[in-house]
């Protein structure tokens, strides 16, 4: 059962990466696109065990690194951090669902800001981008809009039915 959930989670993040890189080639309202792979990572790590969540975050990041021209490991670092933050905060999200939307916004924004900062430190000139604020803010807003469309189906696919066995790993 645990393996089935992990396999579905891996399939979901691959689908997320494929959609992230293809759906938004031309569909970019106000010059930005949702950080869909990040949102799916966040949604998946709400339901997996702690260590598997971190590994899924790291692997998704590594896949994004390999599909981009950025330094290998940048996205891995960012999405591992996203997974860690989600693992730490998910009980609060469960206890108070109204925290979920601001939580998605803050995690998305912070992750993109972290990527921009690390990118600059490692010579990617991301902060030299004239639209840097827009590229951090709009994807976070789009992720909030997509939250009702993405999180519930993923919960249905890999969420727990009664109890939270994966959480204590």
């Amino acid at each position: 059962m645990k393996w089935r959930r992990t396999a579905v989670a891996v399939a979901l993040v691959i689908l997320g990466a494929a959609l992230q890189t293809t759906l938004f080639v031309r569909l970019r309202p106000f010059g930005a696109s949702p950080a869909l792979a990040l949102l799916i990572t966040l949604a998946v790590t709400r339901h997996l065990g702690r260590v598997p969540s971190l590994l899924v975050g790291f692997s998704t990041g590594l896949l994004l690194d390999l599909l981009s021209e950025s330094a290998l490991g940048l996205w891995a670092l960012v999405l591992t951090t996203v997974a860690f933050a989600t693992v730490r905060l998910r009980r609060r999200f469960e206890d108070d669902v109204t925290l979920l939307v601001p939580g998605v916004f803050l995690i998305s924004f912070a992750a993109l800001a972290m990527y921009a900062l690390l990118g600059t430190i490692f010579g990617e000139q991301t902060l030299a981008d004239a639209q840097v604020v827009r590229k951090m803010l709009l994807p976070a807003v789009y992720n909030v809009i997509l939250t009702p469309l993405v999180l519930p189906p993923i919960t249905r696919l890999i969420g727990e039915r009664g109890g939270r066995p994966g959480w204590d790993l």
Binding site: V25, R26, A71, A76, D129
Partner: protein, 312 residues
């Protein structure tokens, strides 16, 4: 496994993965994208291209639907603008035909070999980078179609970017809007040269070296860079230039290529080795731009001259 008391297993794993990521970044940067990182990228991109092709096939109608909706908003103004543009282009075409005849006559008189046409490979844009910070596009043609790294990519408007990585079946193109991209350009109207730098999206930054250069809104900028064939439209000046204390003139320019909606492109089968080959123009003195924007290599030249490689 030993771990300090107070640190649970997930925190230890997190610290381990962060350290592993940092090591990977360091190794990849030291290898400059080559080595194991480059091999992994090629392998994963090759394996992932069919997935991206399938996703593109499935999502294209959805994208088309939303694009259609957004197009409806400004369709009347667009129609009026296009009618004016057609009238203007018809006039320009008549002038160009007349000039072309004169050039052919002069070439015949002076026994000059006309410049040869470059081969092109038409390609479709399959995918973009995983975030808005990645100004790259993946195209569906690769090494087996004759594409190599550094080849220029254009669309019907002008320069789109250049190829930065190639697999057997696909290639990655870095757009001219990328902050690491710098292209030497010439103002078509005056012949003055400058450097266009990407700003991540939207308008590009144009830096002219001659502080006396007169730039007006609408001036067309064409390639004058050893890495690209000369004369490809790149951008159009959008703001009047302002002198920057005695060193240069800096202004903004809008890309001629429709980068936000690029779908089909052409890869020019051209490498900088072809510069100076039969059919190219007479070599001229290269322009030396000021060194800045650390780490970006820029090859500059006027006409199709060989240019100078600058390594700040």
């Amino acid at each position: 496994m030993w771990r300090p008391s107070g640190i649970d297993r997930s925190t230890a794993t997190f610290i381990g993965l962060v350290l592993l990521s940092l090591v990977m970044v360091t190794i990849d940067l030291r290898a400059s994208g080559e080595g194991l990182g480059g091999t992994l990228r090629d392998g994963v991109q090759t394996a992932f291209t069919p997935v991206q092709k399938a996703a593109t096939f499935v999502t294209r109608p959805v994208v088309g639907f939303f694009e259609g909706l957004s197009d409806l908003v400004g369709i009347r103004d667009e129609n009026r603008r296009l009618r004016l543009q057609v009238a203007d282009l018809e006039r320009q075409l008549a002038e160009t035909e007349s000039l072309q005849r004169r050039v052919e006559e002069l070439e015949e008189i002076l026994a000059i070999e006309p410049p040869g046409e470059l081969d092109t490979v038409a390609a479709r844009v399959l995918a973009t980078g995983p975030s808005d910070f990645d100004a790259i596009r993946l195209i569906d043609k690769g090494r087996r179609d004759g594409i190599t790294v550094d080849m220029p990519v254009i669309d019907e408007g002008g320069l789109v970017g250049r190829v930065v990585a190639v697999t057997e079946t696909s290639a990655r193109v870095r757009l001219i809007t990328d902050p690491t991209m710098r292209v030497a350009v010439r103002v078509e109207r005056t012949g003055e040269t400058g450097i266009l730098t990407g700003r991540g999206g939207g308008l590009l930054q144009l830096e002219m070296f001659n502080t006396q250069a007169a730039l007006i809104e609408g001036d067309l900028l064409v390639t004058a860079d050893g890495r690209f064939p000369a004369g490809i439209p790149v951008a159009r000046v959008t703001e009047k230039a302002e002198a920057e204390v005695g060193f240069s003139l800096i202004t903004r320019a809008a890309p001629e290529a429709e980068l936000s909606r690029v779908d089909y492109v052409k890869v020019l089968v051209f490498t900088s080795d072809q510069v100076g080959a039969p059919g190219s123009e007479e070599e001229e003195e290269p322009v030396q731009p000021p060194l800045e924007n650390g780490g970006t290599e820029t090859t500059v030249g006027t006409g199709t001259g060989p240019g100078t490689t600058l390594s700040p």
